[in-house]
């Protein structure tokens, strides 16, 4: 039994060892960009499209409540963002002109809480932060990703690309070996996706819960037997920006349903 699995793992790795010119194969063709939804069974696609039954909306509902809830004596989010935040999530991660830092949606929500609401930041992957980020991301449903990668953001894109293209872990695999060079092919029972983040926060069957893109990245790192980075790590936020830049124009889908 062990031997069989060793063979399978071997096949998995040798499949990705195929020599390739890094430049030609590390970029997705613009008219080849496919959301993760494309690689799901029709039943799972239908669940994602069902605005009632998609379990991700349990968090979106809660986010809508939190958005209007005052924090002790401080105003709720809706006071400043009266008109909603349509299209905003499609522009994240984004440079913050004040601090010069790159913020993803979760980081931005927490920065708002700390500076404007004088509250403690929410814990990454807590139900409340997932709820708020899903509520905000859902307002960009169907909007194309359009992140700004000029100016100071460019160096973060490069940092994210480096992480994406660097082999790591016991399996010695980089993200791009699966998600750029071998997408559409089979890995055990799954079809390998292109690894886009447009559906996150997403409801994953494997998690039986909603989860952030960082949770997904941690799972990918663990999957190749590498040490995952902590939630909210600046390198993961840079990877997030690189992924968004790689998928410019792809429609936002949060809360998506994934395997």
């Amino acid at each position: 039994m062990k031997r069989l699995f060793a063979l399978m793992a071997g096949a998995l790795i040798s499949g990705c060892f195929a020599p390739s010119a890094p430049d030609a194969s590390s970029v997705l063709d613009a008219n080849e960009i496919r959301s993760g939804t494309h690689f799901l069974t029709p039943e799972t696609q239908a669940l994602q499209a069902d605005a009632f039954a998609n379990p991700g909306f349990l968090w979106v509902d809660r986010g809508a409540v939190l958005f209007e809830q005052p924090i002790s004596d401080r105003p709720p989010c809706v006071t400043c963002h009266e008109a909603g935040l349509k299209g905003v999530a499609a522009t994240y991660p984004k440079m913050d002109p004040v601090s010069g830092q790159l913020f993803n949606l979760e980081g931005r929500i927490n920065q708002c809480r700390v500076t404007h609401q004088k509250a403690a930041p929410l814990t990454y992957e807590s139900d409340d932060l997932l709820a708020l980020s899903a509520f905000v991301a859902n307002q960009s449903l169907g909007d194309p990703i359009r992140v700004d990668i000029t100016g100071d953001a460019a160096k973060h894109v490069r940092q994210g690309r480096d992480y994406f293209t660097t082999r790591r872990g016991q399996f010695n695999l980089s993200c791009q070996q699966c998600h750029t060079q071998h997408w559409g092919q089979k890995l055990r029972g799954d079809t390998i996706s292109q690894g886009h983040g447009n559906g996150f926060p997403a409801y994953r069957f494997e998690w039986q819960s909603l989860g952030s893109l960082h949770r997904r990245l941690r799972d990918c790192d663990t999957g190749v037997r590498a040490q995952p980075l902590p939630y909210g790590d600046p390198t993961y936020i840079a990877v997030e920006l690189f992924l968004a830049a790689r998928a410019q124009g792809l429609d936002m889908e949060s809360p998506a349903v994934r395997r």
Partner: protein, 106 residues
């Protein structure tokens, strides 16, 4: 946090058979999973779902660990009288979650 979502078509014609959906946030922890350190994660599931119309039971379900997390239950009802539909979930410890929706008949 236990969010609940209910889908009850309304208004409906008398005698129409309608589809009702109820979704609740619950981990439905099976008791068969293990945590990162190999410890068994204790079972924690909803065991019963009931739907009443004006106090009369019209549909129920017994749930076991084989039901997926955040259970979605879909069932049918013949709309004969208007009133209030009450949805009740009970977990293994007897804790109860409840929500209701109006059934309007034209």
């Amino acid at each position: 946090m236990a969010g609940i979502r209910l889908a009850v078509p309304s208004p409906v014609h008398q005698g129409e058979i309608i589809e009702i959906k109820a979704l609740i946030q619950h981990a439905m922890e099976s008791g068969f999973r293990r945590g990162a350190r190999g410890e068994v994660i204790e079972r924690n599931i909803l065991t019963r779902f009931e739907c009443d119309l004006n106090g009369t039971l019209v549909f129920a379900a017994d749930l076991h660990p084989g039901v997926a997390a955040n259970p979605l239950i879909t069932f049918h009802l013949k709309a004969m009288e208007p009133g209030t539909l009450t949805f009740t979930w009970t977990d293994q410890h007897g804790e109860i979650w409840q929500d209701s929706a109006a059934l309007k008949i034209t």
